[in-house]
Amino acid sequence: MIDYISLSLTALHQALVNQEVTPKILVEQALEKIKADDNNAFEYICEKEALLFAEELSHQEPEADNIFWGIPYVMKDNFSTKDILTTASSRLLADYVPVFSAEVYLRLMGAKAIMIAKATLDELAMGGTGSSGHKGQTFNPWDKTHTRMIGGSSCGSAASCASGIVPFSIGSDTGDSVRKPASFGGLVGFKPTWGLISRYGLFPFAPSLDTVAYFTRNVTDCAHILNLLAGHDFKDMTTAKRPVVDYVEKLNIKKPYILAVVDEIVEATDDPLIKAVFIKHLSLLEKQGLVIKHVSIDKKLLEAVYPTYYIISSAESTSNNANLDGIKFGVHQAGESYEEMLFKVRTNGFSHRIKRRFVIGGLALLEDNQQDIYLRAARSRRLIVNAFKRVLAECDAILLPASPTIAKPFNETVPTKSFDKKMSIADNHLAVGNLGGFPSITLPLGFKDNLPFGINLTGDIFTDEKVLSIAKAIEELIGLKDLIAGVRK
């Protein structure tokens, strides 16, 4: 039997339409792989639900005009799925079964895509290592020694797409939670413009930064998913009321686009190989007719990206997670008073790292501190975004290394107390995409020690179709797509 499930979305659709394979076989193949998975990528396997759905579809004709028909996918476990356990990888929500469904999930269900599993994440989507969920570390499928991270917070979604278990997986991106793991996993990771996809049903971490984002193994699949998910939803007042665009149709528009390279960020990339491969591709792109423009952004602003992101996201997170008291839902702890119950639930329910975030966020919002911390971060956010907007006013998109390193071993990620400014510039610039709400995509650029690293492209808000079509051109030039961990082509 051919390993159909490891095909791309577009290829799988063709196989389904040609009736070479059925949704049921795809689901069975995916389930088999999930059961054999040793990367700790899953919270809940929807075996019964998926098989039932596939069975239902087996009585139907494959829908030639619906690319999602019968396709298995994986959903990050911070999307509310009615009647299906949703834990956000937190002890506090270990038994939480939602009563309503996220818009994203409903759209995929309406398109008859089959959710095969809920993927693990950093607890409540806070973290970048894929190690803080209640089930521990999620491993990088490219590294069979199980010492390296796939990155977070969308670690399970990234690992399942990188291992070829599903052709696409849904995640969320608040700082770089999809685009960084995409770099470590040889994947395409896309965070569209804030407000393009409904967040209804996505567990909020920091609503002004949170974006529904996702993984595929090529840019065309990525555009197909945006076609389904983009668009106004009255349940999320922040979704844009813009006419629907066919992102797939616009993929092949080729123009002499101007791409900006922020020299300070490339400069801060320490790894000589990653830097060299990146620079080599700049000249290759120029040969293809694209224009590369080197620009400069004040280092102080770039150094401020991480603290700014951290303060704003932590402040918002304290408030967004104040609903978790174990009284209405979640793991309850008995107590003599409301205060005692709350204290027990939140002390035992959250990991240390989450509590640290809440304390910092709470401090930033105290009336006496707001001016100095929270509002200063808000001003800093505006300055950073304006600096990038000025670049984007003159260029079509910004092109940068997605990460200064390949996937790191877990034992190198112990947080250090000192703040390495140079490292921070290269490691955290993707958060600018969230501060500004920009569309931003990571795609595979190369390999080092048999581990992938990526390149990132970021455009101005609501230029998603342009970003995708440039990404498509870059993908063709680099020639790395449909990568699956352990399967070298």
Partner: protein, 466 residues
């Protein structure tokens, strides 16, 4: 020494709207506990607020009546604190940018007319109701998220009676504007007072004491008077006064200490980013102000069953679609029936975005049915196909069971039926109009509903006259 009482009011009015301020859940007073809840009211993770325009209009009406200036854009903020009746752990309110500012109202007092300044008016959501049973606290989330407006006056009153009169005036105003029942015993109007005593001809500005949750007009005056008396005694005996929160004990006619205000509550206020700033358009303001009779609901104009009405009210999208279809000239009972049935079922499974995508085609489809171009069975199957991403054009053109177009074939079927229902034909000719429907029914049955009703009827009538 003579003292001058300085009194200010904070009034909460619970808004009479069919649904809550942000969640879309119903708001019937006296419904079974925890029966009127949407995911947001319980703060289920991922639920998000949407604004109820009726609440905004109500607030605009009151702000207008109080002669206030309206903010240009409407924004909301989070007031963060932990309490068992506050599901989200924060209350959505308008802290930084209240909807109305700097208003006034003329109050007729014993000493003549007096201008009362109204500092601010803002929208916010109510908390859940706590019911204490023996040693337990029960929570009823029906009230959680109901729209409130809070009105804060300047300290312009000098007696308990004035404060009471103003509160009565506010109730009257709320009733006149039909925005709140103002019933204090039901908690639809809640009053807090701030009381301080100033010494005449002295720099002493007094110490502000707040008395919370006064539950009747009479108690407003009595509580203020009791507090004035308490403060006077303390001041005269040169004892210290502290800023504090107190409550009123009706039986002993005393105010009772609750907590000191020294430790300022810190609510970590910050803007709610799930609600983008909304421009208050002149249209909306005009609409609110000129709405002399508040129609509880746009649906009130149509004759609908309770079930249909509740379906439309609970699903904002269906309600919008309903209005659109009505405006296209389709009859309300037919539209409501279709929306409450097929469309609601699809909405539950596929979500509103999907339905919006096929909205234009849905409207066309219903118009086709109304024009008797398609049968009811086709209406159903075509709609299912629309939901399955087929275009109406394709469906219509490729329909295997397309209406039996050939008049010749139809005529043959009619002849057949006429022979079979000979008795009905005679009855019809004798003036029994109902028989015609019977015969039509037979034709529909024979053709499996696949005939154009209009053409069939015309043809049948022609044949019966022959």
């Amino acid at each position: 020494m003579t003292y001058r009482a300085i009194v200010g009011l904070e009034i909460h009015l619970q808004l009479v709207t069919n649904t809550k301020l942000f969640s879309g859940a119903l708001t019937d007073f006296g419904a079974l506990p925890n029966s009127q809840i949407a995911p947001l009211d319980m703060a289920f993770p991922g639920s998000m607020p949407t604004i109820n325009e009726r609440c905004v209009k109500a607030a605009i009406k009151m702000a207008n009546a109080l002669d206030m200036s309206l903010s240009e854009t409407m924004t909301f903020d989070r007031k963060n604190y932990f309490y068992s009746d506050l599901a989200k752990g924060y209350q959505l309110t308008q802290y930084f940018n209240p909807l109305g500012r700097d208003g006034q109202l003329l109050l007729t007092t014993a000493e003549g007319e007096k201008v009362i300044h109204v500092t601010r008016l803002h929208l916010e959501e109510d908390t859940a109701k706590q019911v204490h049973v023996n040693n337990e606290t029960w929570l009823d989330f029906n009230r959680a998220g109901v729209g409130l407006i809070e009105i804060v006056t300047a300290p312009d009153f000098n007696s308990g009676v004035e404060a009471e009169q103003f509160a009565k005036l506010m109730q009257k105003l709320a009733l006149k504007l039909k925005i709140s029942t103002g019933k204090m015993q039901e908690g639809a109007m809640r009053v807090d007072v701030n009381v301080s005593l100033q010494k005449e001809d002295s720099a002493f500005k007094g110490v502000v004491v707040e008395i919370k949750n006064l539950n009747s007009f009479r108690n407003i005056a009595r509580a203020v008077n009791a507090e004035i008396k308490r403060q006077k005694i303390l001041l005269e005996s040169k004892e210290a006064l502290y800023p504090e929160t107190r409550r009123y004990d009706e039986i002993n006619n005393l105010t009772i200490f609750m907590r000191r205000k020294q430790q300022k509550n810190d609510y970590h206020y910050f803007p709610e980013t799930n609600i983008a700033p909304i421009k208050l358009s002149q249209d909306l303001i005009d609409m609110a102000v000129n709405e002399d009779k508040p129609r509880g609901d746009v649906l009130a104009d149509y004759t609908l069953t309770t079930m249909q009405k509740s379906v439309l009210t609970r699903n904002p999208y269906l309600k919008t679609l309903f209005i659109k279809l009505i405006n296209k000239g389709l009859p309300s009972d037919f539209v409501a029936n279709f929306l409450a049935g097929k469309v609601q079922a699809a909405l539950k499974i596929m979500g509103a975005a999907k339905l919006q995508k096929i909205e234009e085609e849905t409207i066309t489809l219903l118009a086709l049915y109304q024009a008797e171009k398609i049968s009811s069975k086709q209406l159903t199957t075509f709609y299912q196909q629309l939901l399955a991403n087929k275009s109406l054009n394709d469906i219509y053109n490729s329909d295997n069971d397309a209406p039996i177009a050939s008049e010749q074939r139809l005529a043959a079927i009619i002849d057949e039926v006429l022979l079979e229902c000979h008795e009905a034909v005679i009855a019809y000719r004798q003036g029994k109009d109902k028989s015609l429907n019977y015969i039509l029914g037979q034709i529909y049955r024979k053709t499996n509903n696949q005939v154009d009703p209009k053409i069939t009827k015309a043809l049948l009538l022609k044949k019966m006259e022959d």
